[in-house]
Amino acid sequence: MKRETSRRLLSMEFNSSSIYIKGEGERVPSYLLTPLGSLVNRVYVCGVLTEVEELENGYRARVSDPTGIFSIYSGQFQPEVSQSLSSAPTPSYVALVGKGRVYEPEEGVVYASIRPERITFTQKRERDLWIVKCCELMIERIDAIKSCLGMEKDENEVRSKLLAMRYPKHIAEGAAMAYCRYDEIDLDRFTGGIKDALEYLFEEEEVTMESISKEGVLDEEVLKIVGALEGRGEMEGGALWEDILEKALKGGMGEDMVEKAIDQLMESGRVYEPALGVFKRS
C-alpha cells in the first residue's frame, strides 16, 4: 500500500472541513475533504504549542498558526509523542506529523483534530517557511477550484477537465471532489486568511530568541521597543513600563531580562525615567 502524503494547510482550511470520506473495508484510508480540495489523511504542521492538558489516557494540546488552532490528541499508542508533550514548555515552536481524525457528533458536523505520529521542537524560521508553503499550496488549490466554477458538478468530468488544464493529479482530484461535494465554497474567506497569514510575517520585527542570545543585543532590542512605544499617550512623551514589558515578552524575552536591560540602559544614560514607570530615550 502506498503511504499517504502529509498535506500542508493552515488550521483555517483544516477546521472548515465538513466532509469525511471513510475508507470502506480493511486498510482503505479515510480522508478529510477540505473545502479547497485537500484530501487529508496525514498532515504536517509547524506552529506554536500554546497549551498542553493531561487527559486520562493521553494528552490534548493546541498548536496555533496565524489563522487559528489545530487540536492535537495523543493517546497511549504514541508514547513518545505523549512523553514529549508532557514536558514541553509553552509557548514553543513545534513541528509535527500526524493523522487527521474527526469527531462527528451529528450528521454534517465535523470536528477535526490531529493524532500526532511524530513531534519535535523547531525554530521560528521553520514555522515561517511552513506558513509560506501552506499558502503556496492553498493558492494552487483555490486556483483549481476557480477553474471549476461554472462546470457541471460531475466529479469525473471535472477531474479530467482539470487534468487537461495541466493541474497536477493530486490537485485535480481533490478540487473536483470539493467542488462537487461542497454546496458553496467561500473562496474570499480563504484568500483573506492567506493574506493575513502572509502579512503576519511582515509585522514589526519581533525580538527573537536567537537575537537575544547574542551578547549586548538585548539592550539594543529593548531600546528599540522603547523608541517604538514613545509618545503614545500623555506619558511625558515616554513609553509605559507595562507596554514595554508586554511587547518584549511577546518577543520571547523574560521579565527579568527586560528589567536588567532597562537598568543597564539607564546606567549608561541612554534612557531616563521622566515619570515613575515611564521611560524615554535620551
Binding site: T5, S6, Y44, L129, V132, I139, P168, H170, T191
Partner: protein, 395 residues
C-alpha cells in the same frame, strides 16, 4: 496494396454485427482480412487485439529463452521502425532476416505491454522481404530535452558527457556513462565506440529503453553521435515529489522535503557478507550461518506535501549527516547494550527537518523509492521573500 476504404469497411462491419458477432471480435476478424498497411505511429495500446500489416525495418534482433511449460522456447525481440515511428516486437518464430533488413509483416498482432503497444509475430503471421528503404529515419528522430524523454523509442539529445566508462562483459565491449543537458540527466550505454569522452558536448541519437526501472539511452550502429558546438550546462532535474510521482521516477533527480519517518530496519544493522542482505542473529535466509558485517543505513520517508517517497541512505551519507562514524555508533551501542540507541539518535537529530536530496528514483506498487546519492540540510530560504511574491499574486 489496397488503401483503406471506410465505406466498404463499415458495410463489412454491419454484416458481421448482423450475424450476432460481438463488436470486438468483428473488428478483429475484419482487421485480419485486411490487406491495408498500418503505419507504426498509428498503433497505440488502445489497438491491442487487432491484427495489422506492416512494412518496416527490423532495427534490432535479440534472442531470449522463455520457459513455457516443459521445454524452453526461443523468442526474438527488438524494435521495428518505419518513416513514422518505432515499436518493440516479440517474435515466437525464427526471423529469416538480419537486423537492418526491411520486411513486410502480415497479420502481426498488436498487444499491450505495460501500457504501451507492442507487435507480436506468431504462427499466423507472414514475414516477407521488402526492398523499401527506411533511410530517412535518422532525420525523423525526434529531438528532445532530456527531461522530456519519458518513453521508449528513438530520440536525439544534445548534452554534455558527464561520465564515460569503458567496460567489458562476455567479451563485449561497451561504454557506460551519463549525459546531461540543462533539463536533466540520463544514463546511456554505447555499444559502438564513437570516440567521445567525458566533458565533450555531443548530439547523440539512440534507442531509449528501460534499464533497471529507469530510462536509459542505448547507442548502437544505427545511432549517430557527433560533436556539438552548443554551450550546454548540465543540470539535474529538480521537481516536486508530486511531479516525480506523475513521472514515475527518474535518474539523478533532485527533490526537497521533510524527513517525516525513519522506518524499521534503520540504524545499526548486520549484513550477510555474501549477499549484503540485512540479517538477524548472523543467520542469512539464503546463506545460513554467516559472519555478519556491521553497517549503517536509514530507511526514511521524504514528504513535501505534494507527494512522498521512501529513500535509502547508505553508510557514508549517514556518517556525514550525523557527524559520527560506524565505529563510534558501534561503541555507543556496546556501552548502552542496546543497538536501538543508534536509530533513536537518528530520529532525534534528523526527524521533521528539511533536506535536499538527489538520487535515482523508481516506482512500484508501494510508491516511489529513491537510492540516495547526495543528501544535505535544505538551503535556508527567506520566508518573507516568498511571502512577498505570493502577496503580489493575490492582490
Amino acid at each position: 496494396m489496397k488503401e483503406a476504404d471506410d465505406s466498404s469497411d463499415s458495410n463489412e462491419l454491419e454484416k458481421y454485427l448482423s450475424m450476432g458477432i460481438p463488436l470486438e471480435e468483428a473488428k478483429r476478424a475484419i482487421s485480419s482480412k485486411s490487406e491495408e498497411m498500418t503505419r507504426l505511429s498509428n498503433i497505440g495500446p488502445e489497438r491491442a487485439g487487432e491484427v495489422v500489416n506492416l512494412e518496416c525495418k527490423i532495427l534490432t534482433i535479440n534472442e531470449r529463452e522463455v520457459n513455457l511449460g516443459d521445454e524452453p522456447k526461443k523468442a526474438y525481440y527488438g524494435f521495428l521502425v518505419d518513416d513514422t515511428g518505432s515499436l518493440p516486437y516479440t517474435s515466437w518464430r525464427d526471423i529469416p532476416y538480419e537486423k537492418g533488413n526491411s520486411v513486410v509483416i502480415k497479420k502481426g498482432l498488436v498487444r499491450e505491454w505495460k501500457g504501451k503497444a507492442e507487435i507480436v509475430i506468431n504462427r499466423q503471421s507472414v514475414l516477407l522481404k521488402s526492398d523499401r528503404e527506411f533511410g530517412s529515419l535518422q532525420k525523423k528522430k525526434e529531438r528532445k530535452k532530456i527531461a522530456d524523454v519519458r518513453d521508449i523509442g528513438w530520440v536525439t539529445v544534445t548534452g554534455k558527457i558527464l561520465s564515460a566508462e569503458r567496460r567489458e562483459k562476455n567479451d563485449k565491449k561497451f561504454i557506460r556513462g551519463v549525459i546531461g543537458d540543462e533539463t536533466g540527466r540520463m544514463p546511456f550505454t554505447s555499444w559502438v565506440d564513437f570516440g567521445f569522452k567525458e566533458g565533450d558536448t555531443v548530439e547523440m541519437s539512440g534507442m531509449v529503453r528501460s534499464w533497471l526501472g529507469l530510462l536509459s539511452l542505448s547507442i548502437g550502429e544505427e545511432s549517430e553521435v557527433k560533436e556539438s558546438q552548443e554551450g550546454v550546462e548540465a543540470k539535474r532535474l529538480k521537481l516536486s515529489i508530486g511531479e516525480l510521482e506523475d513521472r514515475g521516477g527518474g535518474f539523478e533527480v533532485e527533490v526537497n522535503g521533510e524527513l517525516l519517518e525513519i522506518q524499521k530496519g534503520s540504524g545499526l544493522i548486520v549484513r550477510c557478507p555474501i549477499c549484503r542482505r540485512a540479517v538477524k542473529g548472523n543467520n542469512c535466509t539464503i546463506h545460513g550461518e554467516v559472519d555478519g558485517v556491521w553497517d549503517l543505513r536509514i530507511k526514511g520517508v521524504l514528504d513535501d506535501g505534494t507527494g512522498n517517497l521512501s529513500m535509502i541512505i547508505g553508510r557514508g551519507l549517514c556518517e556525514e549527516l550525523l557527524g559520527k562514524t560506524l565505529e563510534e555508533f558501534k561503541d555507543d551501542a556496546k556501552n548502552a547494550m542496546d543497538p536501538a540507541i543508534v536509530s533513536r539518535e537518528m530520529e532525534e537529530k534528523l526527524l521533521l527537518r528539511r533536506y535536499e536530496v538527489i538520487g535515482d528514483t523508481r516506482s512500484d506498487e508501494f510508491g516511489l523509492r529513491m537510492m540516495v546519492k547526495i543528501i544535505k540540510p535544505a538551503e535556508d530560504k527567506d520566508p518573507k521573500k516568498i511571502a512577498g511574491g505570493l502577496l503580489e499574486g493575490i492582490r
